[in-house]
């Protein structure tokens, strides 16, 4: 049996770990509330943006634009959105695993990383990282998303990449975050048409007009679409990160509690054992003299 002192030392160490996890949980709870508020505020913009682009492409039919048709390059760009810090349960590992299991050839994948944990995880696996924007994930702004979007589009236009995906974690609710791989370019017009729209009868009958013409409008709107989808992915990922961390820290605190109570029991038993032993020794000593 471990000595009393040893048990006591372990218990103290676990107690201080518990204090840390408890504090981290509280911090991420507060951060989560803020991040969730932000994600909710910006949701309207993205649903609308998505709806407009889809209905536009559905009506525009077969537009002969590289953004819709795709380019010849075999390379696939993936924007991976992870966090800069760990201790968030499976949050970062899920993204890394999803990129690895996406079925793309490692040589063809070009990574545009956001979040240091994704860089660490994927670089080790031999993926090629083209650009890293890890600093922005702490407080993502629309301008940051624009910068990344512009870089992606210029690489797309240069023929360096043929497809663009974004790997991020969708925020379902506080306890459920789902890693998601979403295709940004070329825009999948086929799959988008399925979205039924709730328009009034009259608006359904009259076709939508565009100014400037469809093709020109698409060329102008796709960069905006990219930016807003990226921004949406960032704010949602931040909410997910804090949700995941809150959950991980909650279960860590609970585990610590369990270990502490177990150690408490062991400590008391060891103390009792030591007292009994001492008593037997005293009695035996007294008997020997008497």
């Amino acid at each position: 049996m471990a000595s009393m002192r040893e048990i006591k030392r372990r218990r103290t160490s676990i107690q201080s770990t518990q204090q840390i996890t408890k504090a981290m949980k509280l911090v991420s709870t507060v951060k989560l509330q803020r991040a969730r508020q932000r994600a909710e505020n910006s949701k309207a913009y993205f649903t609308y943006m998505y709806k407009t682009i889809t209905s536009m492409l559905a009506k525009a039919g077969n537009v002969d634009h590289p953004y819709v048709k795709g380019s010849d390059s075999k390379n696939v760009a993936i924007v991976t959105v992870t966090s800069n810090r760990g201790l968030a349960g499976g949050y970062n590992a899920n993204i890394v695993r999803m990129v690895m299991g996406s079925g793309f050839e490692k040589e063809n994948v070009r990574l545009y990383t956001v979040g240091r944990k994704g860089v660490e995880g994927l670089e080790r696996k031999g993926y090629k990282i083209v650009a890293d924007y890890s600093d922005i994930i702490e407080e993502p702004t629309f301008a940051d998303a624009k910068e990344i979007g512009e870089r992606l589009l210029s690489d797309f236009a240069n023929g360096e990449i043929g497809e663009i995906y974004v790997a991020y974690t969708e925020f379902k609710n506080t306890v459920s975050q789902v890693p998601k791989l979403m295709k940004l370019l070329p825009v999948d017009a086929e799959g988008m048409q399925a979205d039924a729209e709730e328009l009034s009868e009259l608006d359904k009958l009259t076709p939508m007009n565009f100014e400037p013409e469809e093709e020109e409008a698409i060329a102008l709107l796709i960069p905006k679409y990219m930016t807003s989808i990226l921004y949406g992915a960032f704010v949602e990922a931040v909410a997910s990160e804090n949700g995941a961390r809150m959950q991980a820290m909650d279960s860590a605190t609970n585990n610590a509690e369990e270990i502490i109570s177990d150690l408490e029991l062991k400590y008391n038993r060891a103390r009792q054992g030591a007292i009994t032993q001492e008593l037997t020794e005293i009695i035996a000593g007294a008997e020997a003299i008497g």
Binding site: N41, E211, K224
Partner: protein
Amino acid sequence: MADKFEVKIISPEQLFYEGTGTFVEFTTVEGRMGVYPNHIPLTTVLAPCVMKVHDSGEVKKIEISGGFAEILKDRITVLAESANWK
């Protein structure tokens, strides 16, 4: 002609403005434009401009840094990259 339509201005940060209007002015990439209710359905790309929403004699001015607008018979929805009161 007391016709009114719904005006919604959405920026990435928030639903910036929601209300009614009788006439809306803005600048598209093609030039300046004004829209009354019962306009034909139109999607247009906006240039950075000051948007004016006329609502029963009142004029609200909003700075917009690009985006696009979807105009339907009874409503106009503006997706602005950023929006501020002027």
